[in-house]
């Protein structure tokens, strides 16, 4: 007992009189991670549902094909979906490397866990980098929290000219503003989750290098962080559909 590193919390939950037997054969921390992710899913759902409600309440909306059509370093316009496709691929790929790290953990193969965790962290960093490029591109065009390209203009013709490139149907200042606010809020909240995920991945990578899990005899912590990382990927699947496809 003295040679193993188990947190105090885990020890408390050991006895049969303090819930020592798990009805689901799952470790306590893993169940709590699931419950946290469910509550987080509610938060993201609320954001995305509000986006839908706004879209339903406006007679017109920004055309995703027109606002997202640049590929940084390759084309400034005319390429809808290409850049976000690359981002989606990076995130799915990093989810795969994460699940490979979990699988390596089951075989107690430290070398492989380290290798796959490094790939996962790299994927996360690439995604955040793409997100930053996307944000700065939109910011450059005049979109930001509480702002759209026509903010500050008073002449109706100038407002129409500033917003025309982003609409297919009729132009609406309010719709452009709502789109701008919700885009930066939701992708920002998602990007924040990715950043936290990268941080957690780096922490468990160092714990692996430090032989912490080897001493514990289980790589369960990789699984718990992995659940979080897959959840981030899951949220992106929905953000991608509702912002970029529909």
């Amino acid at each position: 007992m003295s040679t193993t590193t188990v947190s105090h919390l885990d020890k408390v939950k050991d006895g049969p009189w303090s819930g020592g037997k798990s009805p689901w054969n799952l470790e306590y921390g893993k169940i709590m991670m699931w419950f946290f992710l469910i509550s987080d899913a509610f938060t993201f759902s609320a954001f995305l549902i509000y986006y839908g409600a706004q879209k339903f309440a406006q007679p017109t909306w920004i055309d995703a094909d027109k606002i997202f059509q640049s590929v940084p370093g390759i084309a400034d316009s005319g390429q809808p979906l290409v850049f976000v496709g690359i981002m989606t691929f990076i995130l799915i790929m990093s989810s795969v490397t994460m699940v490979l790290a979990v699988e390596a953990g089951h075989r107690n193969s430290k070398q492989e866990v380290v290798k796959w965790m490094l790939w996962t962290i790299l994927g996360g960093l690439c995604f955040i980098g793409c997100q930053a490029i996307e944000w700065s591109h939109l910011h450059h065009q005049g979109f930001w929290f509480g702002r759209n390209p026509a903010t500050g203009l008073t002449d109706p013709d100038a407002i129409a000219a500033a917003l025309q490139p982003y609409f297919t149907k009729e132009i609406s200042y309010t719709a452009a503003l709502q789109f701008s606010n919700l885009f930066f809020t939701i992708t920002g909240f998602h990007g924040f989750h990715v950043s936290i995920g990268i941080l957690l991945n780096i922490i468990v990578l160092f714990m692996t290098l430090n032989n912490t899990f080897e001493r514990r005899g289980t790589y369960l912590m990789i699984e718990k962080v992995g659940l979080y990382w897959h959840f981030v990927d899951l949220v992106w699947v929905f953000v991608f559909t509702f912002f970029y496809l529909i």
């Binding site: 699931w34 549902i49 839908g52 339903f56 795969v96 289980t218 699947v237």
Partner: protein, 125 residues
């Protein structure tokens, strides 16, 4: 302590059965294929060839493909398919509230579109 190890070991054992390397890559190719299909519809059928129009039909296809992708991520990458059935029910049944919330807010949004703008006392201009 021994009991904790037992749970952890059992846990690892069960999951080891669920996902091996071959299975992981096959799930990856399913996700890749579904995403590629979305791109084919969006860039090919809608944008390039103009066979389909943006609208309810295409959006329904996108949402169906998205839910399918979500199923594969949750069931296989997050291992939920291999947990005990009572845990699966507990984690998924609460999303009834989300379905309800979607219906609620989209109906409300549609109502505002038709009634907010036409209100004679509070012109929304």
């Amino acid at each position: 302590m021994a009991h904790h190890d037992h749970i952890a070991a059992h846990d690892a054992h069960e999951h080891g059965e669920g996902m091996d390397k071959k299975r992981i890559w096959s799930v990856f190719f399913v996700l890749l294929a579904l995403t590629a299909l979305e791109f084919l519809i969006a860039l090919g059928f809608v944008h390039h060839w103009g066979i389909l129009q943006k609208g309810a039909l295409v959006n329904t296809i996108y949402i169906a493909l998205t839910l399918l992708k979500a199923y594969y991520i949750v069931a296989f990458f997050m291992h939920l398919k291999f947990e005990k059935s009572s845990f699966i029910v507990i984690c998924s049944i609460v999303f009834i509230f989300i379905v309800y919330f979607i219906a609620l807010l989209l109906i409300e949004g549609g109502y505002l579109l038709h009634h907010f703008n036409e209100h004679p006392l509070y012109p929304n201009k």
